[in-house]
């Protein structure tokens, strides 16, 4: 799997397909911090949401690198489609980790915050970035070329899903009581926003971990579904 990751990263760099999503992320972060004030937890909550969208975009472009025949050959050489797709998604996650580090360090290094970042806030914000990146990657995998041949369906479907998942809180408020539970089907991209904003930043024990746990559960479920469905599409 390590060699598939190396191959994919090398190929991705040569393809220059990384440029649009990564440059967009940099621009978003730079522009976002030009406006002040920048409360620490709220700002990190927003940049994590940016990363959710950008990770989804990165996932689509990484999964489109290999042509169908190349994909078949790689799976044959690797001996498992599960390992192939896991390696591809890990490749995207590696890039997302680098973007997380950038999103985390940029405001600290350039003194964008009014206060210093405590260990508790730093840890929770960093983890929130990673979780939303993983969620974005797994959601996008369903709209990749592996699952959808039409680029319009893929991008259109993904954009709609992302919009719905970001607007989930608002959708929940307008839905009749009996339909409110349907929001749970949407990717929980904004589920950590409310506890983060309400968090008093005193200690790690004063924040609700359930929303974070739900992101983990949701991500694992759709990751497994993607791996099973991609294997069946051979």
């Amino acid at each position: 799997m390590k060699d598939v990751i190396k191959y994919s990263l090398h190929d991705y760099i040569r393809s220059h397909k990384y440029f649009p999503p990564i440059s967009t992320f940099f621009v978003l972060i730079l522009v976002f911090y030009t406006y002040k004030p920048n409360p620490i937890v709220d700002s990190y909550a927003i940049t994590a949401l940016f990363l959710f969208v950008i990770s989804a975009w990165l996932c689509l472009s990484v999964l489109s690198l290999d042509s169908p025949v190349q994909r078949q050959l790689m799976i044959l050489h690797l001996g498992s489609s599960y390992r192939y797709y896991s390696a591809k998604l890990l490749t995207v996650m590696l890039i997302a980790v680098l973007l997380t580090v950038f999103a985390f360090l940029y405001p600290i290094i350039f003194n964008m915050f009014p206060d210093s970042v405590s260990l508790a806030v730093g840890f929770i914000s960093f983890v929130n970035h990673l979780l939303l990146a993983a969620l974005g990657i797994c959601v996008a995998s369903f709209f990749s070329k592996v699952m959808m041949e039409s680029a319009i369906n893929a991008y259109g479907g993904l954009v709609l899903t992302i919009i719905l998942s970001i607007a989930a809180l608002g959708i929940e408020n307008v839905l009749p009581a009996s339909f409110k539970y349907t929001v749970w089907l949407l990717p929980p991209a904004t589920i950590t926003q409310r506890p983060l904003i309400q968090w008093e930043e005193e200690s790690l024990s004063s924040i609700s971990y359930l929303p974070f746990l739900w992101i983990v559960i949701y991500t694992v479920i759709i990751l497994l579904l993607f791996l099973i469905m991609a294997n069946r599409r051979r």
């Binding site: 060699d3 090398h10 190929d11 393809s15 025949v69 044959l76 050489h77 001996g79």
Partner: protein
């Protein structure tokens, strides 16, 4: 000979089109098997299923050793690879679990044999069709496969590369590799093929002419394929413009000629032939 793989009752449909219908095949060690058939007859689908990279709708593919080392040469190897042959083959080798020491010996050797060494530093997407096909062949034999599957491997290759491929296949056969291949433009493989099968209408039939049987190609006019479809001596018929080409065993040719004339057809030519041509 021990059994290497078995395909049992394979069915495959694309949309409404049935490509393979209840196809079964037993592949034995050290065998060279040719699968022939017209364009679109399902040869490539059959090979992909045998390689395990495509799933049949129903049926089973069983390999005697569970982790069978399979090499597969696709009909159209990807053109837009952003790696040099050397880089690409190194990655493929490493993904396959081949050690760096072996790769450093084997890749230059294979590149030299296929005269790709002078292109080894150019990216694959800048190479000619034939050279891309050579990379496709090398990636399949890099790991010394137990089962090598080649889909139209000669397509785009120059004569020297064709000869080299033939000699490599012969070497692999000596080293107990089982080979499953398809071709239609050449009889180059005739000497090494042990068994030939023909795919027609989604069904796999054992070809009866592999034992170097003398063949006649009879070109006739005045009859159509429906007129001759009941004639069991005809191994294969093909319509070409206003003619009908009949492939028959030499032993049956006189009988067929008589039947053509009796049925009101005319004989255009009779030639000894190689069915694979």
């Amino acid at each position: 000979m021990n059994q290497l793989a078995e395909l049992k009752n394979i069915n495959k449909k694309y949309g409404k089109k049935k490509v393979l219908h209840d196809v079964s095949l037993t592949i034995k060690e050290k065998q060279v098997i040719a699968i022939l058939g017209e364009n679109g007859s399902g040869k490539s689908t059959f090979l992909r299923i045998a390689a395990g990279i495509e799933r049949p709708d129903s049926g089973q593919v069983l390999y005697a050793p569970k982790n069978l080392r399979t090499g597969y040469v696709p009909e159209r190897f990807p053109k837009y690879l952003r790696f040099t042959p050397d880089e690409y083959l190194h990655y493929i080798g490493k993904i396959n679990g081949i050690s760096e020491i072996i790769l450093k010996q084997r890749i230059p050797l294979l590149l030299r044999r296929f005269q790709l060494d002078k292109w080894s530093n150019r990216r694959i997407n800048e190479l000619s069709k034939g050279n891309i096909q050579k990379v496709g062949i090398i990636q399949a034999i890099l790991q010394q496969p137990e089962l090598l599957i080649l889909d139209e491997p000669l397509s785009g290759l120059d004569l020297s590369a064709q000869q080299e491929l033939l000699s490599i296949i012969s070497e692999l056969k000596e080293q107990k590799t089982t080979i499953l291949l398809t071709y239609h433009e050449s009889s180059m493989f005739e000497g090494i093929v042990d068994q030939t099968y023909y795919i027609k209408d989604g069904c796999l039939a054992e070809e009866m002419i592999t034992e170097k049987q003398d063949m006649k190609l009879i070109e006739i006019k005045g009859l159509i394929d429906i007129d001759v479809e009941e004639w069991k001596e005809i191994l294969y018929s093909e319509k070409r413009e206003d003619k009908l080409l009949l492939y028959v065993s030499s032993d049956d040719s006189n009988q067929i000629l008589t039947r053509v004339l009796t049925a009101g057809g005319s004989i255009e030519s009779v030639n000894s032939t190689d069915f694979n041509n």
